[in-house]
């Protein structure tokens, strides 16, 4: 008899100790906010201290969020926090898909940042491959680079420089704040050696582009 009632006693004890309803509301609020999936009352109960009554707390919490910017919504038999339907128009920017810049673009951008003002020919000399038109276009479109003043050399080629947007994006005050080779090495950024057998030279991804070239881009 004693052994059987032990569990019941335990339960009663913890029931007695159940946190106040306001506290239970807080708990559910935090759980609903942080969970990746909508969560059922049963799961809530399992997570919360013994004796809690998530179903009741949910009623209060739901009421509290009535008319707010977010709502406590029932999704199937589970619960979740959702943006109020009338505010959906604010959420559009959220869906911007970010993609990594291509390696060619990053390298070109890096060379412009470190060597600006720099001509296209100089970029190609440093990279060892021709710079595709798409790469330069993309960087111009991102407003990370812009045309600088022309070089006083034969042909008066245009130069590229980085923009304020570039500095903003990369959290730099000045292109001169970019770390040098020595500092890159110190930070362990130069340790990744290419696998043996990779002979530097024109990368295949760029090779086909080189024929096209961007001479038209710079004609004027």
């Amino acid at each position: 008899m004693r052994a059987v009632t032990e569990e019941i006693e335990d339960k009663e004890e913890s029931l007695f100790e159940a946190p106040p309803m306001a506290e239970q509301e807080r708990m559910i609020e935090a759980i609903l906010f942080a969970t990746v999936e909508p969560i059922t009352v049963r799961e809530l109960e399992a997570r919360m201290p013994h004796g809690c009554d998530p179903a009741e707390a949910l009623v209060y919490l739901r009421k509290r969020y009535e008319g707010r910017g977010v709502q406590i919504m029932k999704v199937g038999d589970a619960w979740a926090i959702r943006t109020a339907a009338d505010l959906g128009f604010l959420m559009q920017k959220e869906t911007v898909e970010t993609r990594k810049l291509s390696r060619a673009a990053i390298e070109t951008l890096a060379i412009i940042a470190y060597h600006q003002p720099v001509t296209r020919a100089e970029i190609e000399e440093i990279r060892g491959v021709s710079v595709s038109r798409g790469t330069v276009d993309q960087l111009l479109e991102l407003e990370w680079i812009r045309f600088g003043r022309r070089k006083m050399t034969p042909g008066r080629p245009v130069t590229f420089v980085v923009t304020q947007s570039f500095l903003d994006h990369f959290g730099l005050e000045n292109a001169r704040d970019l770390p040098g080779l020595k500092e890159l090495r110190a930070a362990g950024l130069l340790e990744n050696r290419p696998p043996i057998g990779v002979i530097p030279g024109p990368e295949s991804e760029d090779e086909e582009e080189s024929a096209e070239g961007q001479s038209e881009l710079f004609e004027d």
């Binding site: 060379i111 130069l190 990744n192």
Partner: protein, 268 residues
């Protein structure tokens, strides 16, 4: 009885030795001499600001002596620090020499005390920082984000790290370029053979081998050397094949070639 005493003595010495060794083995656990000094300073059980640098110097030197006695190899910077502390000790003990330049023993000691205090302060700060509530451990960010409508717009992103690694990749390419011959300055024997085969038909009379050098290879010394060697090797090959005659009148004299004429055979 006697045996027992003996045994006791033995255990004592073993324990001692173990203790001493434990202390030494710990050297690896220290992050350099400053860390070791900081640990030693704790044995003084006083506020770091009131620490006796002289006493600390003695402790450190004793520690290093002990390590030496146990034939433990100490890293060079520990020995440098030992030498410096020995110097500091003498400065602190001897009356100041007014003719001596540079900071006094007291100034040096004060700076060392400052360094120790600062290191300890940073360690405490680090501990307090890590004791703070942390994101993803104690407090949490939003778990879901499916509440957003999908309007596709692509932007491109790159981090400063990407940028720097990209740059580093280009700038250090030469560092780890595997060894390859620079082919643009090399004229191969095959190339020379091809060229010579086409030309020898016209070489009726003795002609200087240098006149066979390919165009554009005569001026640059590196290219010229390569082209000369290849042309010479190709000529020997052609002689071997019986297409050419070759001669050199004297050491370092010009090497001359002419087409082998079957009719001339035996007469020359």
């Amino acid at each position: 009885m006697a045996d027992e005493t003996h045994f006791e003595e033995d255990t004592m010495s073993v324990a001692d030795r173990l203790a001493a060794e434990a202390l030494i083995v710990d050297v690896d656990g220290y992050e350099g001499p400053l860390d070791l000094l900081l640990t030693l300073s704790r044995t003084q059980k006083v506020d770091l600001r009131k620490i006796s640098v002289l006493q600390l110097a003695r402790q450190y030197l004793a520690f290093v002596e002990k390590a030496k006695a146990l034939r433990l190899e100490l890293a060079a910077d520990y020995l440098v620090m030992a030498a410096w502390l020995a110097f500091l000790k003498s400065r602190l003990l001897l009356p100041p020499d007014p003719s001596e330049e540079g900071p006094s023993g007291e100034e040096l000691a004060a700076h060392l005390a400052f360094q120790l205090e600062r290191l300890q302060a940073m360690r405490d700060a680090a501990a307090r920082l890590m004791a703070r509530d942390q994101l993803g451990r104690d407090f949490f960010a939003r778990g879901q984000s499916e509440m957003v409508t999908r309007v596709r717009k692509v932007t491109y992103s790159a981090t400063l790290l990407d940028l720097m690694q990209g740059y580093a990749r280009i700038r250090t390419r030469d560092d780890f370029r595997p060894f390859v011959m620079d082919r643009d300055a090399v004229f191969t024997m095959e190339q020379a053979l091809d060229r010579m085969r086409g030309l020898i038909g016209y070489a009726g009379d003795w002609t200087d081998i240098l006149s066979y050098l390919p165009e554009g290879w005569e001026t640059d010394p590196v290219r010229r050397r390569s082209a000369t060697a290849a042309t010479f090797a190709a000529s020997l090959e052609l002689v071997k094949e019986g297409h050419l005659d070759i001669r050199q009148s004297d050491a370092f004299a010009p090497i001359q070639l002419r087409k082998r004429d079957e009719s001339r055979d035996g007469r020359d």
